[in-house]
């Protein structure tokens, strides 16, 4: 079974790339592959270049070094990635000390500034707290502090705000924006929330059934989506700014089972704009505009009046 199939993309320093998709689209698996963290018995083939180095060729020592010093990962539920019986301050200190960049004393001295940097109030007192004494938003901040404490150059955030309330989400998004600017790091934001991507990302990768179906600059993807999946997804969400009550465009059916994918284009059973060719031949991810790629035989620009058809 191929959870992820033929993914190619690049991220630059200072850039925030959003990977969007529904559950089972392969977006999380893609992120785990980058760190070679795919659960057994998963296998990765291809090349993952970090600068000049291929992550897939690294020795065990090198990959540990890479994961610890170059990359930080932020998960949806910080509770599961923190040790419940250790104090928050100690865990951040440990995260820094584990990776040789700082001495023990330096690490200790940096804990409070790190927490202040992620805007945890009363950081001096809070380092003595245990994770459960933190609220969800505060835990996520602490997690971010832990992640960025080594000044990573790549930050992978997997649904970082999904478990949070909307007012807390807003502040975490602001924090991620600032942190990425300060670190000049490359950021990969994995999410199901298109609106978040619009708010934070420079570029977007849309995934469906383990494939990239569309990618390009955020503005192009939102203003001029070419793949029917992207187009429908954008119209299936209620928007705060909608006027009156337009009926939502719904995508019929359910995402396919990765074990038995349909022939041809993987989206064709749910697509309203399909042609005969879509049933038999899978389209390549082809350029539709400068920098914008889509995996579709039809493309939305060739569909007159798509709203009427849906």
């Amino acid at each position: 079974m191929r959870a992820v199939d033929g993914i190619s993309f690049d991220v630059d320093r200072g850039e925030i790339v959003g990977v969007v998709g529904e559950s089972g689209s392969g977006k999380t698996m893609t992120a785990l592959s980058l760190l070679r963290l795919v659960p057994e018995p998963g296998k990765i083939t291809g090349r993952i270049l970090y600068g000049e180095n291929d992550v897939l060729e690294m020795t065990d020592d090198e990959i540990r070094e890479f994961r610890g010093n170059e990359v930080a990962m932020i998960f949806q539920d910080p509770m599961t990635s923190m040790n419940p019986v250790l104090r928050v301050g100690f865990q951040i200190e440990e995260a820094m000390a584990a990776h040789r960049r700082f001495t023990g004393q330096q690490a200790r001295d940096r804990v409070v500034p790190m927490l202040q940097r992620v805007r945890i109030p009363a950081a001096k007192e809070r380092i003595k707290d245990f994770p459960h004494q933190f609220s969800g938003g505060m835990r996520q901040r602490a997690m971010i502090a832990m992640g960025v404490s080594n000044e990573p150059s790549l930050l992978i955030a997997d649904e970082p705000t999904t478990a949070l309330d909307v007012t807390v989400q807003a502040s975490i998004i602001e924090l991620l924006r600032d942190i990425s600017r300060e670190l000049r790091a490359a950021v990969i934001l994995i999410t199901h929330n298109m609106a978040l991507v619009a708010s934070l990302c420079n570029r977007v990768i849309v995934m469906y059934a383990g494939r990239i179906v569309e990618q390009g600059p955020t503005r192009a993807i939102f203003k001029n989506p070419q793949h029917p999946y992207t187009w429908s997804l954008l119209r299936s969400m209620p928007r705060m700014d909608e006027v009156g009550k337009e009926r939502l465009v719904s995508i019929r059916g359910v995402p396919p089972d990765l074990g038995k994918l349909p022939t041809g284009c993987k989206f064709h059973p749910r697509c309203r704009f399909k042609v005969d060719r879509c049933l038999t031949e899978e389209p390549p991810l082809a350029e539709v505009d400068p920098e914008q790629l889509a995996r579709c035989w039809v493309l939305m620009k060739n569909v007159p009046n798509p709203e009427m058809q849906s």
Binding site: S250, R252, G253, V254, D257
Partner: protein, 301 residues
């Protein structure tokens, strides 16, 4: 409700016409059980003992009570494959007859204890409050008294018949079941589908029987399976103390207790019933373990 609408988009558009055939939860568990070698071995042993027990009711090589069939304490021979005991009775016949008693006591006591435990446990867990306080208090008091003492008192009071022994064992065995079912009920009653059942007006009795019991059945079956060997051992123990099923019934426990006096000169007298007892108990425990893993794979340690 009006006739089937044609205007409603949902009515036609999202009909999902295909749905992969999947096995039910029960079928899944059965498949996992079949893959567990020890459980299958246990199941086969239990089946053999059951058949033997059934046969022994209508036929044994010799009557189980007939004495002086040959020399007392005689070892195994062609006529008496397991030998004769201290009264010259055929041990094979008596082991066969013992199977009926052991399984009767085991299954009977397990059934009675489970029934009591399920009813009281569900009532306590579902109604909480005073009902729970009363039932839990009873359970805790019973837990405080040694099982043997409870059984002894009861046997002394009502006598030693087969049914009385079953009753005595069940009286101590229901506690664990009641605790288990109470805990299960407490957690299941908070599930959303039970809340949903209340919002659609399902009466309490139906909530218990239709929603709570079927979802607690897995652990209940496992517990009931473990209760069988526990009851068999308990009966053997009572017999060993001379408080079991009265002679000349061929209970394995009393066969062992009678035989151990002659352990030095005729060890086969003790060996046969003990082997049968151990094998049965082991088989039920293997089956219980297998069931536990098969019904809920996550429960495995």
């Amino acid at each position: 409700m009006a006739a089937v609408p044609s205007t409603v988009e949902a009515s036609q558009e999202f009909l999902i016409s295909e749905l992969p055939e999947q096995s039910s939860l029960g079928q899944d568990a059965w498949r996992r059980l079949k893959r567990n070698r020890l459980a299958v071995v246990g199941l086969v042993i239990i089946a053999i003992f059951f058949v033997t027990a059934l046969i022994s009711i209508v036929w044994t090589p010799y009557p189980t009570w007939r004495q002086a069939l040959g020399t007392t304490y005689a070892g195994p021979s062609l006529l008496h494959p397991l030998g004769l005991d201290d009264y010259g009775r055929d041990i094979l016949s008596r082991v066969m007859g013992g199977a009926a008693i052991a399984l009767g006591v085991g299954v009977g006591a397990s059934f009675l204890a489970s029934l009591t435990g399920i009813i009281l446990g569900m009532l306590a867990g579902f109604f909480k409050g005073k009902v729970d306080a009363l039932i839990s208090l009873t359970i805790n008091i019973f837990y405080g008294v040694p099982d043997l003492l409870v059984a002894l008192i009861l046997v002394v009071l009502i006598g030693r018949g087969l049914f009385n022994i079953i009753l005595a064992i069940a009286l101590t065995g229901w506690l664990g079941m009641a605790r288990l079912v109470r805990g299960q009920t407490l957690s299941i009653r908070e599930r959303e589908y039970v809340e949903a059942a209340r919002t659609i007006g399902t009466p309490n009795l139906m909530i218990l029987s239709r929603h709570i019991l079927p979802n607690a059945l897995g652990p209940i079956i496992v517990q009931a399976t473990y209760l069988v060997p526990a009851a068999i051992i308990f009966e053997a123990f009572l017999s060993l103390l001379g408080l079991g099923i009265p002679p000349p019934s061929p209970s394995w426990g009393r066969m062992a207790s009678e035989g151990y006096k002659a352990l030095q000169i005729a060890p086969h007298i003790v060996l046969a019933p003990c082997a049968a007892l151990s094998l049965t108990v082991l088989a039920f425990n293997w089956l219980g373990d297998g069931l536990r893993d098969a019904i809920d794979p996550r429960m495995r340690r």
